[in-house]
């Protein structure tokens, strides 16, 4: 196992930043911690690095308990959001810094730095100072500094958030490529769910210091455990509507919308009593337009060419976002009928837990 956390907790004074976090990250996988600001993802990453002490629990890296081990001895390398390059040293010396501290032979230092520079296409920049580099190049130097150390685990804390949108997409691809090339375990922190979905083999969604759900990107998308994960993963976000279970026949339940004639149907195998108030969630891309369905008034339509987003309102005033593929007829100001297949209607109880 690459990294295993068992019941890890962190408190700052009386504030619980992380509670009872347990997870397993297989060797060689790309894990992403994602969640809203302040959910504790940086803290968790810093605890794995050893920069933050644990208040409880156990951290195991490569089958070795490192809970009480010094950061430098954990065989992890970290890439910071602000890069934290040494501004007075050249790119070469920045990457060589850890090797020099470890008193590696000159020839080895040279070889390992050159190798990292080759992987990251930094060769021509080696004699430059960080201030003479662009943002993307600085980011690569920061990654190079990590590669040179040949760590068991790479840790990234929002490494792309200081780059512009285009460069971010490019660096995202480079990171994926780098991960394949090195085959090392990588843990990546971001609050951007698109970054999480595109990079990860394994996503951990955090909120309020608690892991909400762990799984492969599409598993989280298709089968979220709770309302938070359902709303967080996917863009634009899932639509939520309050309903009441009006009827049940085997697995098929009828979900009557509040203040509307319309009902959705969904399949539930677990307990769900008729008369129970539940919330349903439908992704914008899963609504069908036309036929019998929930009438909504389209207020704004954003046409992006292939895709368009409709911002609509129900009779009772709830906002609904609908994604439409292909069709180009203008729907601004019109009333349309929305429906969804039962498998695309997710049901959540009063506490936000998913009913299956």
């Amino acid at each position: 196992m690459g990294v295993r956390l068992t019941n890890v907790a962190k408190t700052f004074g009386s504030f619980h930043a992380l509670r009872d976090v347990s997870m397993e990250i297989p060797t060689g996988s790309f894990a992403v911690f994602v969640g809203p600001s302040g959910c504790g993802k940086s803290t968790l990453l810093r605890m794995i690095a050893g920069l933050e002490e644990t208040s409880g629990g156990e951290i195991v890296i490569d089958d070795r308990d490192v809970t009480a081990v010094e950061p430098a001895e954990r065989q992890v390398a970290m890439v910071f959001q602000n890069y934290a390059l040494y501004p007075h040293l050249s790119v070469f010396e920045n990457m060589a810094f850890s090797l020099r501290l470890a008193r590696r032979p000159k020839e080895e230092v040279n070889r390992r730095v050159q190798e990292a520079a080759r992987i990251l296409q930094l060769g021509e920049h080696l004699p430059k100072k960080p201030s003479q580099l662009s943002g993307g190049q600085r980011q690569r130097v920061a990654i190079g500094r990590a590669i040179v150390r040949q760590p068991k685990v790479f840790l990234f804390d929002e490494p792309l958030s200081n780059l512009d949108a285009e460069l971010r997409v490019q660096m995202r691809l480079e990171l994926t490529r780098l991960h394949r090339q090195l085959g090392a375990t990588m843990i990546y922190v971001t609050h951007d769910q698109v970054e999480a979905m595109t990079l990860a083999d394994l996503i951990f969604v955090l909120k309020g210091g608690v892991v909400q759900q762990a799984g492969a990107p599409l598993a989280l998308y298709d089968d979220p455990d709770n309302r938070f994960v359902a709303g967080f993963i996917g863009s634009p976000s899932m639509n939520f509507l309050p309903t009441v279970i009006a009827a049940r026949e085997g697995h098929r339940v009828t979900l009557q919308l509040e203040g509307s004639e319309h009902a959705f149907t969904a399949d539930l195998s677990g307990q769900a009593a008729v008369g129970q108030a539940v919330e349903i969630g439908v992704r914008p891309e899963h609504f069908r337009i036309g036929g019998a369905g929930l009438p909504v008034q389209v207020e704004v339509a954003e046409e992006l060419g292939d895709v368009s987003y409709l911002y609509a309102r129900t009779a009772s005033g709830r906002e609904i976002v609908v994604q439409r593929q292909g069709s180009r007829d203008r729907l601004d100001g019109q009333t349309v009928q929305l429906s969804a297949e039962p498998r695309h209607v997710l049901v959540f109880d009063g506490e936000g837990r998913r009913l299956r």
Partner: protein, 275 residues
């Protein structure tokens, strides 16, 4: 440029020139006196050089202990500067980077001592040095001058301003406190260390009050203290006195001419105009 702006510029230039003249005149007058003959020195009121002779300078160099005082001054100023920089830097580093109980209190004390004028402590300091048997010793001259809260404060502000990721990057790279301080933090801005060294050196070079109190032996005096000894049984020799003063000011003036920019920067940093 409008005529109004131009007039304003001229007026401002004239005013600064006048201020500069007021500052430089005593120096100029001292120089004039030093190149006059002793008989003429006290009497002449000409503001132009009316005589040119170097007798007073030769006198100062060969008939006083000025050269010895020079050596003493350079020695104490160098030792004090090196020690002040080293001690203050380490103290500031601990206060800024290391979490230990009493840290705030300690920094409060440093700030507090910054607000107490040195002169108010001079009596207690003197008694302390006497009890330690350090009167008329090098240690007695040097030790009290090692207290430099301003240098600690400047260094602490500098260290506080370094992003914490810089420290963490070094820690992950396998470096300890020594590496963080000497291989990363200080090289980030050598200007701070240069500036603090210049300010401290000039301060010690010019220090008069304490060295004057603690030393009575002429052989251990520094230049500013020695000047007070440049008279003899026949009274004050103005030309010689001024020659000694000129020679005493020379290193500071030279340093200023050579390191002009750095000195102004240094004074600005330590007076908090620029951080």
């Amino acid at each position: 440029m409008s005529p109004m702006r131009r007039l304003e510029n001229i007026v401002l230039t004239v005013l600064t020139l006048m201020a500069a003249l007021v500052w430089i005149f005593p120096l100029y007058w001292g120089f004039l006196t030093s190149i006059r003959s002793e008989e003429n020195a006290a009497g002449s009121v000409s503001i132009l050089p009316d005589e040119f002779q170097l007798k007073a300078y030769l006198d100062a160099i060969f008939n006083t202990k000025l050269m010895l005082w020079y050596v003493n001054s350079i020695g104490t100023a160098t030792i004090v500067t090196v020690l002040v920089i080293l001690i203050s830097m380490l103290c500031a580093y601990a206060l800024s980077q290391i979490r230990f109980p009493g840290r705030r209190l300690l920094y409060g004390l440093v700030l507090g001592s910054f607000m107490v004028p040195g002169q108010t402590l001079v009596v207690t300091q003197f008694i302390l040095m006497k009890d330690l048997n350090l009167i008329n010793t090098w240690a007695g001259i040097i030790l009290p001058q090692l207290i430099a809260p301003i240098v600690i404060i400047v260094y602490k502000q500098f260290f506080d301003g370094v992003p914490k990721e810089m420290r963490e990057a070094v820690v992950l790279d396998g470096g300890g406190e020594y590496t963080i301080l000497f291989k990363v933090f200080l090289p980030l801005n050598w200007g701070i260390t240069t500036a603090m060294s210049i300010v401290t050196f000039i301060g010690v070079w010019n220090a008069f009050f304490w060295p004057f109190l603690v030393v009575t032996s002429e052989d251990m005096m520094t230049v500013p203290v020695g000047i007070t000894q440049v008279n003899d049984a026949f009274g004050i020799h103005y030309a010689r006195l001024m020659a000694v003063a000129m020679l005493a000011a020379m290193p500071v003036i030279l340093a200023y001419v050579i390191f002009q920019r750095r000195v102004t920067d240094a004074i600005m940093i330590s007076s908090g105009v620029k951080g």
